[in-house]
Symmetry: C2
Subunit: 250 residues, 2 copies
């Protein structure tokens, strides 16, 4: 049985706030060894003071962009950019968040969400041996809508490694690397919600995934663009190919 | 509080088996109104007799391919193909499953998983007003590993529509369409596992998502390729562009 619940009563977070203390104050039933504490990146960013003045969210996105992956201009002139941010994560806004922030400001992602998650796990382990996941809401290729994903992880296995195990017929399993960290992030969005101020959830029932603080973080989920078949949008790749082809053909 | 558990004791499924009866036999605590029953596509396919003889899984993938999206040949000569299957779903093997099936056979996806999910929901509603999701394990662009996704849905909202709602500062929420069906699918993979024979899970605690049987199914999650920036792999788009550019330049 997996149990997932959100913590009520997490206050508005300000730069410098001690998130470990905030979470422990809000815990309604005591944390247990093997619990997984899942925190929305927004509150981690706020605690870490990652709020900046920005009259224009688009400017902030540009500054946070390491690589433009794809862009599209709608009939009304709105430009959607899919970009790689400094964490290697491909998303629609480079992690720049202008919702639930004071007017004229935007929130950037934590500088190093894996380090943030490890610090949180280390702090919370004064009470119980928990794992920590930090989440962000991301769109996907090929599918409409968004789901929550793991962008930071501390003290938890982000993949359940089934390589080497066999199916019921004794043959090696072809699907080999469930990304349990992303599945946990997605699951907790079902209790945290988007409009409500419930940025922290607890998952109980997968203690087997909790481990040492030096386990690989969520950075290991990011695919190396060199081996990513979708490292660039189709239109952008076509345009590059067209230019190269014309140069070669003339 | 969200509770998620897998049903033990689901037997091996054969063509023609009555899945509604199998699930009701395996239910350990009575289904309640608002529960969400989540079923791995594999058992739906088996019940629907979607098992075919295939000496070669690759041939079966080719037959199930509507559109080649991208492919890559590894240094050892193994070809990975990302394809669109007849359901519009983009995945690495067109839904062709060769694990946990008898030697010399492969399993195809249900012909119409939304219809299958609706039939299951309708049957289970003799007991309680549940929603049903049918899942498949899919890889993702930009991220390593796989997570479970919704490929069929009956009697459940696949998106939580927040359009029109505002954040805590009263501004419209930018992230507007959480794909709760995919989040539920991902969550249940945490209790169903891959190697174990636990293909059915129950989610309790989001009764608000359960609705009429004629709600849009999981087909509505599939993005129209015409508006998909990643409708084609970068290498394939580049090659097409190069050929067109050379023709234009000569």
């Amino acid at each position: 049985m997996l149990q997932i619940w959100a913590l009520d009563g997490i206050p508005e977070i300000a730069p410098g706030d001690d998130l470990v203390g905030v979470i422990l104050d809000a815990v309604d039933r005591p944390l247990e060894d093997g619990d997984i504490v899942v925190v929305t990146s927004k509150v981690v960013s706020k605690a870490e003071g990652r709020i900046i003045r920005a009259d224009d969210r688009e400017d902030a996105i540009t500054r946070e962009t390491v690589r433009l992956v794809a862009s599209r201009t709608s009939p009304t002139g709105h430009v959607t950019r899919i970009v790689e941010n400094p964490l290697g994560i491909v998303s629609a806004a480079a992690g720049v968040d202008a919702s639930n922030t004071p007017e004229g400001t935007v929130l950037l992602l934590p500088v190093d969400p894996d380090a943030s998650a490890r610090r949180l796990a280390e702090g919370l382990r004064a009470v119980a041996r928990v794992g920590v996941i930090i989440t962000d809401t991301l769109g996907r290729a090929w599918r409409e809508g968004q789901t929550d994903h793991a962008i930071g992880a501390g003290g938890i296995h982000v993949f359940e490694d089934l390589r080497g195990t066999t199916d019921t017929e004794g043959r090696p399993l072809v699907v080999t690397l469930p990304c349990v960290a992303d599945e946990i992030a997605a699951a907790t969005d079902l209790v945290k919600g988007k409009a409500a101020r419930r940025p922290v959830a607890v998952v109980r029932g997968r203690a087997d995934l909790v481990g040492d603080l030096d386990l690989p973080g969520a950075r290991s989920i990011v695919r190396d663009p060199a081996r990513d078949m979708f490292r660039q949008g189709a239109d952008e790749a076509y345009a590059e190919g067209f230019a190269a082809g014309r140069a070669a053909g003339s």
